[in-house]
Symmetry: C2
Subunit: 190 residues, 2 copies
């Protein structure tokens, strides 16, 4: 996807743009990663960004590969309120065409390509691990009495949001988020 | 995707293969639609099928466009047992690379292409309507006391299956299906 990788100056400029784009992605989510934004932030012309990544999803794919995932990081208490915000952010991000494109480029590409499948697996297990860690925290803090069986809880909490945004192309109402939160167990003060 | 559409014999042969492929898809699910199967069933050589559709997903895409969806048709009682079978079949179908490929070709293509988005919407609203109709039947038959709020029920029932098969690339355990069934309300004899 990049050009001029044999030219050390071009390679360095590419590294700077990528690092900038990753910082934007982590602080504001994938949808904020635009050519214009990266150009401004990295102090280069927009044409320079386009020379390395002709299309927005190419830039975003390079940003995502190997990057940390900007969802469900660092839970805070009360966990239910934190989780509600994280789920809302995930829903809003998946509703943007750019983030949906990158998510389903991974899902689609993973069907036939082992390397892409590994990236997909990394994202999915990160989400799963973080969600379980957050529910553990809520349980230890006495905020949550979890359901008897939490196996597959990530699919029951995140799956409906993916289905609603990507397949139904519909907004995720707050009420649905509350139902997803309720489904993991009994919350105190909920 | 087809060749020889100006030749009436080739066009007729293509129509026959497509009709055959649709019949296979409806009776056995999308994963059963292979070049070999269509060739046998339509009484043509395998090379003929390949001449019209070079790759399996091209055949399957043409089959799916405008076709009925082979899921959640004609509920029978007891509805819970029927729904469990349908969800299991959906999970097993989505676990095959060919069906996953077609599903996410629709999801991915729909992001930028209005015509594909219309196909995706048609499939998704069919699933939604049929699921709601089945739950209505169960309710009228006294089999189910539905939850207070069934809005978004399709995302809560089908979303986890899509997430589990396509994103986690993991099998859908029976236990998860039972939990999804439990989430729609209180079932009699469940």
């Amino acid at each position: 996807m990049s050009t001029g990788s044999s030219d050390p100056r071009a390679a360095r400029s590419r590294d700077i743009m990528l690092a900038t784009a990753r910082a934007v992605m982590l602080s504001e989510g994938p949808a904020a990663v635009t050519h214009q934004r990266v150009a401004q932030q990295a102090g280069v012309g927009r044409a320079t960004v386009y020379r390395h990544w002709a299309r927005p999803e190419q830039l975003l794919l390079d940003v995502m590969v190997g990057a940390d995932l900007p969802f469900f990081r660092s839970p805070t208490r009360p966990v239910r309120a934190w989780l509600r915000r994280e789920l809302r952010r995930l829903a809003d991000q998946l509703a943007t065409p750019e983030v949906a494109a990158i998510a389903f480029t991974l899902v689609q590409g993973a069907i036939w390509d082992r390397a892409i499948a590994k990236e997909r697996d990394r994202f999915v297990s990160t989400i799963s691990d973080r969600l379980v860690a957050a529910l553990d925290l809520a349980t230890r803090a006495g905020e949550l009495t979890p359901s008897d069986d939490l196996s597959g809880v990530e699919s029951r909490v995140v799956g409906p949001i993916v289905y609603r945004t990507a397949l139904e192309a519909a907004p995720v109402p707050d009420q649905l988020l509350e139902e997803l939160l309720d489904s993991v167990g009994r919350w105190r003060h909920s």
